[in-house]
């Protein structure tokens, strides 16, 4: 096929090229480092420029809404880093860098060195989260490493005194930028650590350009912060500025004032907390005593303690009752027995055959001692004994005379002699 058979219009070809750019991924989001030249700001607000280096040039544009975010004034001759995409401007048949973000790159090689130092220090462990210590609740003294007479220092002092009026501050004045800064800062940290009361250190400086904060990226400063026997709070530049010293610190504050807030407790809070503890202590003790007292009362209130003699009285009364009962009982028994005995004695008396003796009756016994109840129980001329009231008579039977024939005859007790 002949070349002349494929005719493209300008538009077609341009669009093809545009498509090609669009399809190349790296060109859709790219960061380009170069020198600004022919930098012009249009009345529309759009920024037009060329980025170049030793060998090449690249047209660039930054539209108004993106250009508004620039934090510096772009000027021809400046080294910058531009972030954006490469596209084709069809109308002019040019490709250009559409820039969304741009920043100065004056420290290009310095930046690289920083990254390398950061990795090295990280490997040494200076940024290890495990190294970070908590700040003391009430430092006896607060050390401050910063430039004398600086706004940062007066901010720190103001905030510290507001929070804790009697705060003890020890300030080491150091150089915070320039070549002298790193050794000055290191020495400042050393000297402050020698004050035994210092329990926390604030190290910082106010805001500034990147170069001005550079001392806090120094390896010696980082190691001094990491080696500090006392916890360090850093406050370097603004919130968004992060230096290597910040990474090595125990705590990083956004500003010097913030650092003072972190390092210095609120006296009122501490006082309140202490008062509360004392209150709780007293209340708990009070309650403990009350518990004991309750137990005491509980025991004491039982009647045993209230009327200890009561028991004794009761017992005594019971004892008396019993005793009385006993006595009565005994008396009654004795009486009964006495009566019984008396009665028995009476009966006995009545039965006593010898009582009749007093009345003249006598008891006649034979030789064997057997009591004679019948004349037939003896024979004539037998010896009998006659018991009278006051003695005995030994007699001989002269004659026996049976008189009472109605009396039944005795069997087995003697002779049955019929007269």
């Amino acid at each position: 096929m002949e070349l002349s058979d494929c005719f493209y219009s300008v538009g077609q070809l341009t669009r093809l090229i545009k498509e090609l750019f669009w399809r190349t991924e790296v060109l859709r989001e790219v960061a380009v480092r170069g020198e600004l030249s022919s930098c012009k700001r249009h009345t529309s607000g759009h920024l037009y420029f060329t980025l170049k280096d030793d060998t090449s040039a690249l047209k660039g544009v930054m539209f108004r809404q993106d250009a508004r975010t620039l934090r510096f004034q772009p000027k021809s001759g400046m080294q910058v880093v531009a972030y954006g995409r490469v596209g084709v401007y069809e109308r002019d048949g040019v490709y250009q860098l559409y820039v969304q973000r741009m920043e100065p790159d004056g420290l290009g090689s310095l930046h690289l060195a920083l990254e390398q130092l950061k990795s090295a220090l990280a490997k040494e462990g200076w940024f290890d989260p495990a190294r970070k210590r908590p700040l003391p609740r009430l430092p006896r003294a607060v050390g401050v490493v910063t430039a004398l007479g600086s706004a940062a220092l007066s901010d720190i002092i103001k905030v510290a005194q507001r929070r804790y009026p009697t705060v003890h501050l020890v300030i080491a004045g150091v150089t915070v930028q320039g070549l002298d800064a790193p050794p000055s800062i290191v020495r400042g940290l050393e000297v402050i650590a020698s004050v035994s009361d210092v329990d926390v250190i604030i190290m910082g400086r106010g805001g500034g350009a990147r170069e001005e904060l550079w001392a806090f990226n120094d390896g010696d400063v980082v190691r001094a912060v990491g080696n500090s026997p006392i916890p360090v709070v850093t406050a370097i530049g603004h919130q968004t500025d992060v230096t290597l010293a910040d990474l090595a610190a125990d705590v990083r504050a956004a500003t010097p004032s913030h650092a003072a807030e972190l390092a210095v407790p609120l006296h009122a809070d501490l006082e309140l907390a202490l008062t509360e503890q004392v209150l709780r202590l007293r209340r708990a003790m009070q309650r403990r005593l009350e518990v004991s007292e309750q137990r005491w009362h509980h025991l004491v209130d039982r009647s045993v303690f209230r009327r200890p003699l009561e028991i004794m009285h009761q017992q005594r009364q019971r004892h008396d009752d019993l005793q009385q009962g006993l006595q009565q009982n005994m008396a009654r028994r004795v009486q009964t027995h006495t009566d019984q005995v008396g009665a028995l004695v009476g009966r006995l008396d009545a039965l006593n055959p010898l009582a009749v003796l007093a009345r003249g009756f006598s008891v006649c016994r034979d030789e064997t001692g057997r009591v004679l109840k019948s004349v037939q129980q003896v024979s004539d001329r037998a010896t009998v004994s006659v018991q009278l009231n006051d003695g005995r008579l030994h007699c001989r039977v002269e004659e026996r005379m049976l008189e009472n024939r109605d009396v039944p005859v005795l069997r087995g007790e003697g002779h049955d002699e019929r007269q």
Binding site: R140, T166, D199, Q277, M285
Partner: protein, 79 residues
């Protein structure tokens, strides 16, 4: 009973006081032990209060060679 109200950092002593209060509130100690704890707690609280109120306001500068001297500070008009 040792007087440890002077020993230890502020942090440690506050923690000890808090521990004493908790133990007393739980109420499991004997009366004797409770009294003992109470005494210790009060002594600690006193020492801590002293430390809180004690420090004189001091702003010093430490020089290169390590000597301390008072630092004059300009006070802002705002409180």
């Amino acid at each position: 009973m040792n007087d440890n109200s002077q020993q230890g950092s502020f942090e440690q002593r506050v923690k000890r006081l808090e521990a004493i209060v908790k133990e007393l509130e739980v109420g499991s100690a004997s009366l004797e032990e409770a009294l003992c704890l109470f005494e210790e707690g009060i002594a600690l609280a006193r020492a801590l209060k002293e430390q809180l109120d004690g420090t004189e306001r001091r702003i010093e500068q430490i020089l290169e060679e390590g000597t301390l001297r008072p630092l004059e500070v300009e006070m802002d008009d705002e409180t």
